[in-house]
Amino acid sequence: MPEPVLPARITRDSDASIIRCEGDWSLEHLRRGLARLGRRDQRRQWTLDVSSIRRLDTAGAMLLLELQDQLPGKPAFDGLQARHAALLKLVEEHREPEPPPRPVRYGPLASLGKATMDVLAQTVAFLAFLGEFASDALPRLLRPFGVRWKQVVGEVQQAGVHALPILGLLSFLTGVVIAYQGGTPLEQYGANILIVDLLTITMLREMAPLMTAIIVAGRTGSAYAAQIGTMRITEETDALRTLGIGPLEILALPKLLALLIAMPLLTMFADVLGILGGMVVAHTMFDVSFTDFLNRMPEAIAPSSFWVGIIKAPVFAAIIVAVSCHHGFAVQGSTEAVGKATTRSVVQSIFLVIVADAAFSVIFNLLGL
């Protein structure tokens, strides 16, 4: 016949100031919070009666000791059975000397301060990386034969050629949307032909470079951060260094050169596809024929609009490479950090790209372009 289960229990006899522990103090009969005492209880003097504990294992012994620790003056175990005493002593000798300190909780103000300091530290780290990268890359660029052009070509293929379909589709759709949304109010004034101005100026100056940067940041920047981060974890970057090769030289520089080449070209491609999308909408919805559209284009835009868009591309390229490589190289420890670095690199590069774009608008405005 199985013994009846007698779960571990604590009863408090407040009048006699006795805490009684009873039942099976073994792993399966303990429950969470059993030995946790209220604040008020912790202030009183108690007698700790353990005479009615039936069974005791190491888990139970740990809990008993914890209970004892909470009581003021650490009362001795009253009525401790001889068969339990040895185990209790063993557990007491071998348990961790002190429980790990609870993580400090910060108030809202302290959290804000901490977050601010973290952001500042990150900024400083990013600037330090930029400086290191620049001082490593510039001398190499002066000796172009030493640059790993084979890698550069490979990266152009990856970041540029392979991005064409998705970028083409998205630019085409962007063109469609702009033409459609802009065309409706223009139609009310009978100024359908002005769709050409609207579309070309928006696409060339803003949308094409921005779309390209966002796609490249999401597609390629994240891949860069993940690749370099993984190499950090597997110690491949360290292996490179012991083989006499600087990781910046082989990992970051070819990526920078590749995007400097690929992104202006991608931007032009996005220009063409975006305008094409707009043209289709103008033709089908707003009675602007392809011929009218193409004839109007040179009148609608100054060539500067085109260059204004293209000139942004290398800047965006540099931002994306710098941010994603920085986050990749900052990876430490576990594979989890790789995922974080990837996310961060995408968010921060898009953020910085848009900030840079705003700065460009201001500058071009001042220059009257």
Binding site: E236, D238, A239, R241, T242, L243, G244, I245, G246
Partner: protein, 375 residues
């Protein structure tokens, strides 16, 4: 106490007859910190050209940080590191790892996964003529005994093969020094020892100087000319494997290196010990006064089977290793000792066997009630 041992080791090394040109690597009173926490204090050792040194110690003793410092990944807080006659690390300056001309083998091999074995090995040969690269790679593949795997990718190889390729890659640019960070720890025990011996032979044949880090004493002994036993960021003993086993400087080294158990004894005179397993007259003299309680280290090979012997012990556990069996024996008073029996002496737990102590060279330390097992 710790401090003085480390210093003593250093001075003994300084007094070594090594000519300066023979010394490839030297650490002088190096302190290391990681994130503000001290990791190593007062490290000092020298390694001569062509020697293989192993840093041996439990995890967390600072051995990997020491290795990464030699490689140039980690700065020194105090002291300096000299490599091939050039000071490469001081608290203020540091030569970058890529400028140190050394090779490193990593714990998880760190091969480049998208490159074939040949391309991996040739990686450090970038810029040399293609002919020379091809020849060097072929030579190295033969050296590591894997001549036919050049076109495979790292993931198509077994763990042992990957680690050998990693060694070949590190050796390719003919570095002056090879560093190995627990290179065999992801391999199974048998392969570990075999590969250790193999790597030892390759390094010796090429005359390469190497520093390896491990927590596995067998691996260390299979590789090393000299072993530095580290604990809590200090080198406790720097010696040949033979001396470490037979002349450990303290209890920690004695227990960490090789198997063995301590038995209690009393000093009868400077050479004779009255131990729990009988009176033993050794061939060394102890400096303590007569009657001092000491603990004597009994290695498994010190205890041998002898059916006629009056000293009896009960078998508690047996571990069959093939040619020999390691028995855990309990003496009449409960003290446990280990014993190495030839495998044809087969006994079951609970059986009583006769044993004889066959040891003249006994290592003893002052008695310490915490470490003698009596259960």
């Amino acid at each position: 106490m710790q401090e003085s041992v480390a210093t003593e080791v250093r001075f003994r090394l300084d007094g070594d007859a090594a000519r300066d040109s023979d010394v490839l690597l030297e650490l002088r009173r190096v302190d290391l910190d990681v994130a503000g926490e001290p990791v190593a204090r007062g490290l000092g050792f020298r390694i001569r050209r062509g020697n293989i040194a192993v840093l041996l110690g439990p995890s967390g003793c600072g051995k990997t940080t020491t290795l990464r410092t030699i490689a140039g990944f980690h700065p020194v807080s105090q002291g300096e590191v000299e490599l091939a006659g050039q000071v490469v690390s001081t608290p203020d300056s540091m030569v970058a790892p890529e400028k140190r001309r050394l090779g490193m083998v990593f714990q998880d091999n760190a091969l480049f996964p998208h490159l074939t074995v040949r391309e991996n090995i040739a990686f450090g040969l970038h810029g040399r003529p293609p002919n020379e690269q091809r020849r060097r790679v072929t030579d190295l593949l033969c050296m590591i005994n894997l001549p036919d795997i050049g076109d495979r990718f790292p993931h198509e190889l077994s763990g042992g093969q990957q680690q050998r390729v990693a060694l070949a890659r590190a050796m390719a640019p003919r570095p002056s020094l090879i560093l190995m960070d627990e290179p065999f720890s992801s391999l199974d025990v048998e392969l570990r020892e075999r590969l250790g011996t193999e790597v030892h032979d390759i390094l010796k044949a090429e005359g390469i100087t190497a520093v390896m880090v491990t927590h596995d004493q067998r691996e260390a002994f299979a590789m090393a000319d000299h072993v530095g036993v580290m604990r809590d960021g200090q080198i406790v003993q720097w010696d040949t494997p033979y001396n470490l086993y037979h002349e450990p400087v303290d209890r920690f080294v004695a227990e960490f290196v090789g198997q063995g158990r301590f038995v209690r004894a009393t000093l009868l005179d400077h050479e004779t010990l009255d131990t729990e397993v009988g009176v033993i007259k050794g061939n060394r003299s102890y400096g303590w006064a007569k009657g001092t309680p000491v603990d004597v280290l009994l290695r498994p090979d010190d205890v041998q089977p002898d059916p006629e012997a009056s000293l009896r012990a009960t078998v508690v556990k047996k571990a069959f290793t093939g040619a020999e069996t390691v028995y855990t024996l309990a003496l009449a008073n409960g003290t446990r000792i280990l014993s190495l029996f030839p495998s044809h002496h087969n006994h079951e737990p609970g059986e009583e066997v006769g044993i004889r102590i066959d040891a003249q060279h006994l290592v003893a330390f002052p008695h310490d009630s915490n470490t003698v097992e009596s259960g």
